[in-house]
């Protein structure tokens, strides 16, 4: 390599390195725009649902003309790559460089836990619209995070109650992804199901990079009454398909955590999805005016079905704007903003009425949904549990004394 080329290369590299350092940090202006910083995975395996989140947030802000009381609202979106270290870096950029007034977004539990100490140390008002890991608002509560989305076991408690009251299934085998989201989903179901006299007779955990479910399907106990499945994205598509191919669908009815048939995966599914019953705090097929308006507008904007991710970010954006109004527009006052975020009540969100409990997590309806084919596949709501808290009917302090749902808790007493 000749010297000139080496020099050119160095100049380019130095420019890349030094130029961003020299851009001055923006001054904290009182009258500047109301800045909302949002993290979402825009590259990598979670990019699709990440884009759903961004589209949802943008949809709401566009509806209100991206302004509040004459003040401009600026949404700054950063790609967190679904990696905790990147999410932390990007949060630093949003909070310390861009000086956002509210931090929001994120998708994975690991990111939720990783950002928590930073958010509390910075005292930046934050909301989690999607991150659901139970302990963020339970045993390790974060002061500065308001969870506008859901906690993992929140829909599973009433789901178990529904199964006990409306079906004859008493012995259920569970199969789910081998990580915290899977444990908390299955654990929430097991807790209420076994308290009510049901039995979880088997728990199978599949690695996140599973390519073939056949060996796991072969293990499922054929003497169970039903199977509870928890999958997300590609794995949900593949599992339901292979479940039918293995001839299990007609023998063992399929129940599931909400993401198993979420609208982010449902359009790519075929008849194998029909009849699966799941529970979640949202369904694209919810029959209320707010949701009909939202689902239609989202489909026009994004060219795809609204998923729970899009609704979460849409309602979350509205939540933040309502909080800014409650705080009298003083979004720079972080204490006031946090108090306002906790005080917001929505009566007409697409997923129904919403409020915040004493532990910073949302109280909301849980919907029991069954996949049906109308003009396309949809999650038809067959039952509604109104105003469900993250603790179900347990007393919060007693609930919090129990360990977090995990691979080993609740113990599988009826497994062989």
């Amino acid at each position: 390599m000749d010297a000139r080329l080496a020099k050119t290369l160095t100049v380019i590299l130095l420019t890349v390195l030094v130029a961003p350092l020299l851009t001055p940090a923006p001054l904290p202006a009182q009258s500047g725009p109301f800045k909302i910083g949002m993290l979402a995975p825009l590259t990598g395996p979670f990019a699709q649902t990440g884009k759903d989140m961004v589209n949802g947030a943008e949809l709401y802000l566009d509806e209100i003309g991206r302004q509040i009381g004459g003040r401009k609202i600026e949404l700054i979106v950063e790609d967190d790559e679904a990696q905790p270290a990147t999410a932390l870096n990007k949060s630093r950029k949003l909070v310390e460089q861009d000086k956002v007034h509210v931090l929001t977004g994120g998708q994975l539990a690991s990111i939720g836990y990783a950002l928590q100490p930073y958010i509390d140390a910075q005292k930046i008002p934050a909301t989690y619209p999607v991150i659901a890991s139970d302990d963020i608002t339970q045993r390790k509560p974060a002061k500065w995070i308001v969870r506008t989305g859901w906690s993992t076991s929140q829909p599973m408690h009433p789901f178990a109650d529904w199964v006990l009251k409306n079906t004859k299934y008493r012995k259920v085998a569970a199969i789910g992804m081998d990580y915290a989201f899977g444990y908390e989903t299955v654990g929430g179901f097991q807790q209420v199901f076994e308290d009510g006299g049901g039995q979880i007779v088997q728990k199978i955990w599949t690695p996140l990079n599973t390519n073939d479910f056949a060996p796991f399907l072969a293990q499922i106990r054929r003497d169970a009454d039903a199977v509870l499945a928890l999958f997300v994205g590609r794995l949900a598509l593949q599992f339901t398909k292979q479940y039918q191919e293995a001839g299990l669908k007609d023998k063992l009815p399929l129940l599931g955590g909400g993401t198993t048939t979420d609208e982010s995966a449902l359009p790519q599914m075929g008849d194998e999805a029909i009849g699966i019953i799941t529970a979640l705090h949202y369904s694209q097929a919810l029959d209320n005016p707010a949701n009909q308006k939202f689902a239609k507008a989202f489909e026009t904007k994004a060219g795809k079905m609204a998923s729970y991710y899009s609704e979460a970010a849409y309602t979350n954006a509205r939540w933040i704007v309502e909080a800014a109004k409650l705080a009298g527009g003083k979004v720079e006052d972080r204490d006031a903003m946090l108090a306002a975020l906790r005080k917001v009540r929505l009566t007409d969100s697409p997923r129904g009425p919403l409020s915040i409990d004493d532990y910073n997590s949302v109280i909301q309806n849980v919907y029991i949904r069954k996949v049906e084919r109308k003009d396309r596949l949809q999650n038809t709501v067959i039952a509604t549990y109104p105003a469900v808290t993250q603790f179900w009917k347990y007393k919060p302090d007693e609930y919090l004394k129990r360990p977090l749902y995990s691979r080993d808790y609740p113990p599988c007493k009826h497994c062989q």
Binding site: M1, A6, P84, N89
Partner: protein
């Protein structure tokens, strides 16, 4: 005569130290990250650049040390000294065990074995939930109280802390590279059979280089855990190993200062280009290809070439 790249490296350190107080906190945290990643890249350089052993599992030692700090400081409230010693210790121990398996192989086989060993550590981090908290990771690692009169929770003191650590590592590795031991490693890189014929214990030299690289990766891992305040399986996964390998390749293997430069380029590219475009991975890819085509010995390697 003092090497030009040493002067350049020392210059970069001095400039960084002088500029730091003028920077706002976000670029400062990125500079801190550069200092830590530079140590990781330099530690891999001992293997790749000096000994000619391309490892795809280097994140393992880095991550093991980070996990040690995470567990000790959150569960046992251990101080900096304990965490530092134990972190480096377990990293060195892991490397010592893995080295017994890996050093037998060379070339592609060495790549494959280190890759597999790295995956073992990742699997443990992910699945040994009672110790590592699995996928959720360990959060809430407090910034250390290292017996200095400044509060290391603030970005500027922590940057100087990390920079000082990086300089110590750089000097230590520099001395190692110029020592008879380092020269022997270079000899092994050029021709293993000739070194063996000359009576050197090739296996032992490679093994020691492997362990030393692991120890310094652990050194970086300790600071990484304190810097982020959390540890997760991402820190030990393949992507981290590959990225480290790219830092070394980009900067110039066998130069120490080069991999540090590579670390700086990659950290800044990742964090700044991604602000301006969603296609930042494309740009990162283009930079890699550009370097491989036009400067196969890395940016610093290209300069060395011109001096001859």
């Amino acid at each position: 005569m003092i090497d030009r790249k040493v002067v350049a490296g020392a210059g970069a350190v001095v400039v960084a130290a002088l500029v730091a107080p003028l920077l706002s906190s976000y670029p400062l945290t990125l500079l801190t990250q550069v200092a830590i990643m530079a140590v990781l890249a330099m530690s891999l350089d001992v293997l790749l650049g000096y000994t000619g052993l391309p490892s795809l599992g280097h994140a393992a030692y880095f991550g093991v040390a980070a996990y040690a700090v995470g567990i000790l400081s959150t569960e046992r409230q251990a101080g900096f000294g304990t965490c530092f010693v134990v972190g480096i210790g377990v990293a060195g121990l892991t490397a010592a065990v893995f080295g017994l398996v890996a050093i037998r192989a060379t070339g592609t086989y060495f790549l494959m074995i280190t890759l597999a060993l790295g995956m073992v550590v990742w699997g443990l981090a992910f699945r040994w939930v009672s110790i590592t908290k699995g996928d959720n990771g360990i959060a809430g690692v407090p910034r250390p109280n290292a017996g200095v009169p400044w509060d290391l929770a603030a970005p500027l003191p922590f940057f100087y802390f990390a920079l000082a650590a990086a300089v110590v590592a750089w000097i230590a590795l520099g001395i190692l590279a110029r020592s008879p031991f380092g020269l022997t490693l270079k000899g092994i890189r050029e021709s293993e059979s000739r070194m063996r014929a000359l009576g050197y214990n090739v296996w032992l030299h490679k093994y020691l280089a492997f362990v030393i690289a692991g120890v310094f990766a652990g050194f970086a891992g300790v600071f990484w855990a304190y810097y982020n305040g959390f540890v997760s399986p991402v820190d030990v996964q393949l992507v981290t190993s590959v990225e480290t390998l790219l830092m070394v390749a980009l900067g110039g293997p066998g130069t120490l200062a080069g991999p540090a430069l590579g670390a700086a380029v990659i950290v800044f590219l990742k964090n700044f280009v991604s602000v301006y475009t969603k296609r930042w991975l494309l740009i990162l890819g283009a930079v890699y290809i550009g370097v491989i085509l036009f400067a196969p010995r890395g940016v610093l390697g290209a300069f060395r070439g011109t001096q001859r």
